[in-house]
């Protein structure tokens, strides 16, 4: 018999209440983990997609609040390409566009001569020829979601495009895209001669100092911001809001879990006032009594965290099945995120257990024995 065994015995005395408390913690931890992982995975998927396309740097409109919010003149591509140290540059327009089956697909528009076309990992078909219009290359996930194959028509913003190629990107966000000639997308979006950003590859072997100089030179062209994919996403307003909301909801979820623990332990200690009086009367110190109660709380937390973790992995399988977001994210809770969430849950549960523990020892043993 030790404190852990005693705590376990106490938890088993009220199995339904203990199970409900554990379920509450599991839902809180699972919910928090799922939310945080979801927001992170959207950001990570976007970063993976940008990296897969092959950017060293991205040039956007200075002051644009998010990656969709800025526009540049199409000739920015030419001006950037002339900067010393820039190997190649390509303009790109992108937006979420209405497609078939009530779906919004991420639609990219690239100039005819863009090096980005050459880097498309085609599973089948081809990329648009120079000057060709009304054709599209779709990612394999998008093709599957829209039930399209090579040669089919796909509707983008009400206009039909013939699928001439199916791409086989690795990043989940790229697998769900539709790629059009830039001119088509400019027409569809009523933004002729504009791009959303310019992709830049620097010369091979460029040192960090060279890259810094290239960034300065491009920004000196006026009205431009140069950033890496990570910097771009970290400064993106939408991602900031998404992360903040996820964090806030996660904290609320964990707080609810703590309240479950608190409620359960307050009730347990109230019911066991006499027993607490007994162990105090036989010489248990306040610290030992408090420790035994906190251990009860932490045991519930540990079991709840295990179930919560399992729930979050179940969610990992469920998220890709959600039509509106499933083809944009890959749900991958990182070890660091799991450790942080569980550590936060344990810390909060310990704090939640301390209050009933403190309540339990503040009265004299004789009073505890009288009250019961």
């Amino acid at each position: 018999m030790n404190l852990t065994g005693l705590a376990l015995r106490n938890l088993r005395r009220r199995p339904i209440r203990t199970a409900l408390s554990i379920l509450g913690i599991a839902l809180a931890v699972g919910g928090a983990l799922a939310l945080l992982a979801l927001s992170r995975s959207i950001q990570d998927s976007t970063r993976d997609g940008m990296d897969e396309i092959g950017d060293d740097l991205s040039v956007t409109q200075r002051g644009a609040s998010d990656i969709f919010g800025g526009f540049l003149p199409a000739d920015t591509e030419v001006r950037v390409a002339k900067v010393a140290g820039v190997a190649r540059a390509s303009g790109e327009m992108f937006m979420f566009a209405a497609s078939e089956k009530n779906r919004q697909v991420l639609t990219l528009g690239w100039p005819d001569a863009s090096y980005l076309w050459k880097k498309v990992p085609l599973r089948e078909g081809r990329v648009p020829k120079a000057g060709e219009r009304g054709v599209a290359v779709v990612g394999d996930a998008a093709a599957e979601a829209l039930a399209k194959k090579l040669g089919d028509k796909v509707e983008i913003l009400g206009q039909q495009f013939t699928i001439v190629g199916i791409a086989n990107y690795k990043a989940i966000i790229n697998r769900g895209t539709v790629m059009l000639p830039l001119a088509d997308l400019q027409d569809l979006s009523y933004r002729p001669n504009q791009v959303t950003e310019v992709h830049v590859n620097v010369v091979r072997g460029a040192k960090p100092a060279d890259v810094a100089r290239i960034r300065r030179d491009i920004e000196a062209l006026g009205g431009l911001t140069v950033s890496t994919s990570s910097e771009q996403l970290d400064n993106d307003r939408n991602f900031k809001i998404l992360n903040a909301v996820s964090l806030a909801i996660s904290i609320i979820a964990l707080a609810m879990g703590v309240i479950y623990v608190l409620n359960s332990l307050v009730m347990a200690t109230q019911e066991r006032t006499r027993e607490i009086g007994i162990v105090a009367a036989i010489g248990w110190s306040d610290t030992r009594i408090m420790t035994s109660i906190v251990i009860e709380g932490l045991m519930m937390c540990a079991i709840g965290c295990a179930f919560g973790l399992a729930l979050s992995f179940l969610a990992a399988f469920a998220f890709p099945l959600i039509p509106t977001i499933g083809d944009m994210i890959s749900f991958k809770p990182s070890l660091r995120l799991i450790a942080t969430t569980i550590a936060a849950a344990f810390a909060l549960c310990a704090i939640g257990a301390l209050y009933p523990a403190w309540r339990a020892v503040r009265m004299m043993p004789a009073e505890a024995l009288r009250r019961a």
Partner: protein, 309 residues
């Protein structure tokens, strides 16, 4: 207070050695509800090592309050509780004493319902740095000592009242305490079990050399103690030397009932003879007032004897 403590704790122990009492109450009061209910009022009591003391009194006289204060599970609203002459104030110090030096037996057994008999005993050893296996052995040995070696794995609900109380006694003695406090230990038991439990307590006290303070309202049980302290309305009305005083009257036989009534009227009350500060005094120190009372008793008794003869 200092003078009172001095008088109380420089006295000689029953063995004649000048040692402080094992435990003592010095001017202790205990009130509840902001003083509306007074359970104890300026009580002085000294219990020396090895003594067997019964505390007798009707319900509500403050007997249990005394046990609560002697064990430190309650805090006095006035006065001091001293262990070996040291004023014990902190909860931590009291918890440490209860863990090592004081065992308590309650009327209601107070066993933890989810633990077996052995585990109920074992929890009294937790926090003493004793290995789990050794704790288990010590607990089992204590149960054997109270005659429950065959019931170690039983939960309290599966034990009879007497067996539960014996588990509680095993829990109280497993730490080999110097002071064993028993608050109405037979109060919830039938007479057969009460006898078993009482015998067990007195045997443990005698064989183990423990100090036993027994709260009871059973005169027969109290008679088995060396000393009997009587309480009424939160005060000690007889510090336990009354039987000793009566034994000083030698020779004539006990007076008849009418004679006793007359003696009662003719002699001052014990509390008037012995000042409150000397309630626990050995006989040598309170001899003059006792001699005075004895003389008065003898005079009245003689007066009643003469006509009879």
């Amino acid at each position: 207070m200092k003078g009172l403590l001095g008088r109380l704790f420089r006295r000689k122990a029953p063995d004649g050695l000048s040692t402080p009492p094992l435990i003592a109450l010095a001017g202790v009061s205990r009130a509840f509800d902001d003083g509306a209910i007074v359970a104890l009022e300026s009580v002085d009591l000294a219990v020396h090592a090895g003594e067997c003391v019964a505390i007798l009194g009707p319900s509500g006289s403050g007997k249990s309050s005394i046990v609560n204060l002697l064990s430190g599970i309650d805090r006095p609203t006035g006065g001091r509780v001293l262990w070996n002459g040291r004023w014990i104030k902190s909860r931590r110090a009291w918890a440490r004493l209860r863990r090592r030096e004081i065992g308590i037996v309650f009327q209601e057994f107070n066993l933890l319902p989810t633990l077996t008999a052995r585990e109920n005993v074992e929890i009294a050893l937790m926090g003493r740095g004793i290995a789990v296996a050794e704790r288990r052995d010590l607990a089992a040995a204590a149960l054997v000592r109270v005659g429950l070696g065959h019931r170690v794995k039983h939960l309290p609900y599966a034990l009879s009242g007497g067996e539960r109380q014996r588990v509680a006694i095993a829990r109280a003695i497993v730490n080999a305490p110097r002071l064993l406090l028993a608050d109405e230990p037979t109060g919830n038991l039938d007479s057969a079990n009460a006898d078993i439990v009482a015998d067990l307590l007195f045997n443990l006290q005698r064989d183990g050399g423990m100090t036993l303070v027994l709260v009871t309202h059973d005169d027969d049980l109290a008679e088995r103690c060396q000393r009997c302290v009587r309480m009424r309305d939160g005060k000690i009305v007889d510090n336990g030397h009354a039987r000793g005083r009566l034994r000083l009257v030698e020779g004539p036989p006990m007076p008849s009932e009418p004679a006793m009534a007359a003696i009662d009227q003719a002699t001052p009350d014990v509390a008037d003879i012995v000042p409150p500060s000397a309630t626990a005094a050995p006989l040598t120190e309170i001899a003059p007032p006792i001699a005075e009372a004895t003389a008065a008793i003898a005079r009245v008794a003689a007066a009643f004897r003469e006509p009879a003869e």
